[in-house]
Symmetry: C3
Amino acid sequence: MNTRRGLVLAVLLVTLAVAGGLASAGDRGVGGSTTAAADKGVTAVNAAAVAPAGERPGGCSVIDRRMDLYAVELPKDPVTNQIRLGYGLTPQTASYPGPLIEMIEGQCLAITLHNQVPQATLEQLRLDPNHPIGVSLHTHGVKYTQMSDGTVHSNSFVPPGGSRTYIWYAQPRNTNTGAQGTAGYWWYHDHVVGGPHGTPGIRSGLFGGLVVRRQGDPRPDRTYVLAFGDRQTINLRRSSEADTCDEQNPVPGPTCVVAKLGEKVEFLVIGIGDDMHTFHVHGHSWADTRTGVIEGTGALANSIPIIDNKTVGPGDTFGARVIAGESVGPGHWMLHCHMQFHSDLGMSTTFHVLDENGAMTAHAGHAPANPVQAAPAGGGQDAPAHGNHG
Amino acid sequence: MNTRRGLVLAVLLVTLAVAGGLASAGDRGVGGSTTAAADKGVTAVNAAAVAPAGERPGGCSVIDRRMDLYAVELPKDPVTNQIRLGYGLTPQTASYPGPLIEMIEGQCLAITLHNQVPQATLEQLRLDPNHPIGVSLHTHGVKYTQMSDGTVHSNSFVPPGGSRTYIWYAQPRNTNTGAQGTAGYWWYHDHVVGGPHGTPGIRSGLFGGLVVRRQGDPRPDRTYVLAFGDRQTINLRRSSEADTCDEQNPVPGPTCVVAKLGEKVEFLVIGIGDDMHTFHVHGHSWADTRTGVIEGTGALANSIPIIDNKTVGPGDTFGARVIAGESVGPGHWMLHCHMQFHSDLGMSTTFHVLDENGAMTAHAGHAPANPVQAAPAGGGQDAPAHGNHG
Amino acid sequence: MNTRRGLVLAVLLVTLAVAGGLASAGDRGVGGSTTAAADKGVTAVNAAAVAPAGERPGGCSVIDRRMDLYAVELPKDPVTNQIRLGYGLTPQTASYPGPLIEMIEGQCLAITLHNQVPQATLEQLRLDPNHPIGVSLHTHGVKYTQMSDGTVHSNSFVPPGGSRTYIWYAQPRNTNTGAQGTAGYWWYHDHVVGGPHGTPGIRSGLFGGLVVRRQGDPRPDRTYVLAFGDRQTINLRRSSEADTCDEQNPVPGPTCVVAKLGEKVEFLVIGIGDDMHTFHVHGHSWADTRTGVIEGTGALANSIPIIDNKTVGPGDTFGARVIAGESVGPGHWMLHCHMQFHSDLGMSTTFHVLDENGAMTAHAGHAPANPVQAAPAGGGQDAPAHGNHG
């Protein structure tokens, strides 16, 4: 069908268009790129052959794309000594957040999840000794049947050493059928590790960003996934752990948010855990729309809010799209939770905007010195919580 | 006036159009329907004659509709032993949440509230022994004068054994006058029981949903009112109490959220109490608009966010409109607060999507087993957080 | 340039158009007006000559307007005995919140901040004895370079006795360049006092409202800045301190929210501190848009939510625009946080709507009696919430 072919072509264009151009070209700032997955297509098809197959949701007549995702155990958190798990396109590249997955409306994606987390680790994370042992993949925004729900009751999870194929359908907007479309900024996460809502799995690192684009959507130069979570963390880190950029040679990643002047940057902001947060970035603002920009003109376009601070609760996601340094110039722009005691405890990082040549300008001073975190093993300083903030 | 007549006609059409078709036909899933109120119109007029009459807000020249509402004491909560109150179209059908009230813009509704809650119960709920004893009806979204505010300072509440008529005007949008309209998803609640903000009244169950529709709005097949509140509750219940659906013979109601494949379902989500929550449903999403759908086309329609998770604070309300099982099929779809410790403590229910014939498909597994709630009498296990703000 | 001249003219029209007409004509309800600043232009230019000059952000080719802002120490809070600081257009008129600053898109504003807060007071507010001593001006929404960021790391703060000029550019929407515009409801605040996020500065009172208008935006008759913050406060006050209106002779201000029937009133709602809140006003509602009203018609205009309750987290700001008493009439309309224990503890004030003659109607009863706050010195009863959910 012509339309379907057009979509697939567009997907290929996406992966080319987003190739970055900083110190580490080709890395879009999040621990991996789905371009890699496309290269691994053949292998993935084989893996799917042995994995229990998910059902296709209505409208997904053909699988357009396949990829593998590995759930593995990572080294413990260097500050809190907590268990860390991660999803990766390969076991070696697993990270928290996991790889950014990009889709385009119309696409049907089969993801084979391989659970390589040791059984003993999963047992240790259980809230209840009768809870089953496994890892899953639950996603927001796109369409999937109960077989790809990633929950215990639907039996759609993966025991240690096993694998399972989940099918996601980025259902397109269709004004004839009333389908509203699935384009948006979403996230995927475990829903099984440790309890029926995957709380210990998410807390350990089993989450990542999903962006579904619509044909014609503006394309970013860089995407950063920023999960605002418990213990005043961004991507599970805080204080000096949250910003590890080397000023001389910044390598974009979950703890190094950097762009050159004029680059189009999108932040995929995710709320995780038990707490409310507000996402704020200095010097930059975005439109409170699906795409983060205002498209169109007229009275209604005129009335769309432009914001620079947004409440994000657990499970909420949105895209904040900015042009790096536009009007305001290069510099070390603070990016933090505006809940004051959260930022004071280190829930803050920096959006480093380099000049056109990729150098940090001298006059902008030094990056903010985040307080060094005094963190007892096994927990860390938690929210003094609305307690005594007199 | 022609326009007014057109509106009244439309209201009658509403009550016909929303008649459901599941096991218990005619019940739209919320403990009662305003259709019943229409039948009781004559009685209501008599009652109003003896009740102190509210003032009509500007624009409400004629009362289009009358109904009675009874505030009664219900059996104590079976788990926590807390006092439970409810509003009902009759004393026998009172429930928490109270009956869904539907209006259409242009309509003027007179509601006579009869306070049948025993004086001793109201005294027991007081936070302050000098606070007056009574029950009231305060609403959101529509227009009312101070006489229908339902507050202590305006003396617009009802002592035990008394009655009072409140007048609500669903002011229409009028681009000439600049009136913005009152169509939306709202709630009504007590504002007097126990304290000047009705906190103990709301906590005991004195709240319900109000939907104001605009002519031309899409009509749902079913409406469920879901109040997200303290102690990790949905409609004041959690864990197994929150989902009491009988799989063989589901009866739609506040603790049984069920629909057939393809039915248009709207969730009226209400935040109550002292806490923040996030509303999430698996497999389904909605537009972040007044109606929950995207109407129109073009660049702006294209930029409206589609979401499947939304922050709701106390007093916030919104409509999440979905097509049951669309693309994703029948199944037991989890519906929960995404604040992880809330869902882990049982703030979770199930959106049961039956097949076209009204049967639960076999392959979808069993409904999620909510943890059985270990609940000490007189309180129950509270949030380890948000501790003792009773 | 013609366009620029048109903008400047429009600014002058703004300041004329918003002159109020209540008991204290000319006061728009917030401790000062930028009209005063315009009168002081010549002085401000001189002051700027001796203050370190900020950089101009891109697009700001000429400074259109200059003003002075003084940071001073005010008398301690009468209830809690906490330190109070304020910004003022003069040292004598400093207040919390500080003066409302209004801009129009296209305008470039230079503000010279004079730090008159005693060094000993700033030392007392430090969270860390190594933190530098100073006061700053950080703003939301508009454009500024690192030199006007108001942060420690950019060295853009003011030591005691010093002054510094900050430059803000209300970048206009430009559909050619893709600039999205800066029109909106924002706030400005200290970012340095006591710690790297200015938490003790904000908590003491160093914040104020900023409104950026777009040409053609609807103009209000009155603007009230309402900061919802910690300890269940509105503008740092609660209970009887939050509503000090004299019914016979109301003087609009941060603790007296009053208007005549039919006046266009905008509430600039700001979230500050460590906690979530929900803003609710009785009898009135607004559109959830940039301007608080719906402009335009058609299916999309039709789908914009009208709300009367909105979640506001720290750093969030929005404009709630209402017509005083429209349809509902004069009266004492409650305005409160709908988080129940917040309102019960006194996070509530009154929107006093007078009749056309500026008198309070008799039938509306008395203003709500806020509970008298039993407040121990140095703290007050804090939220017992958000305890131990680690």
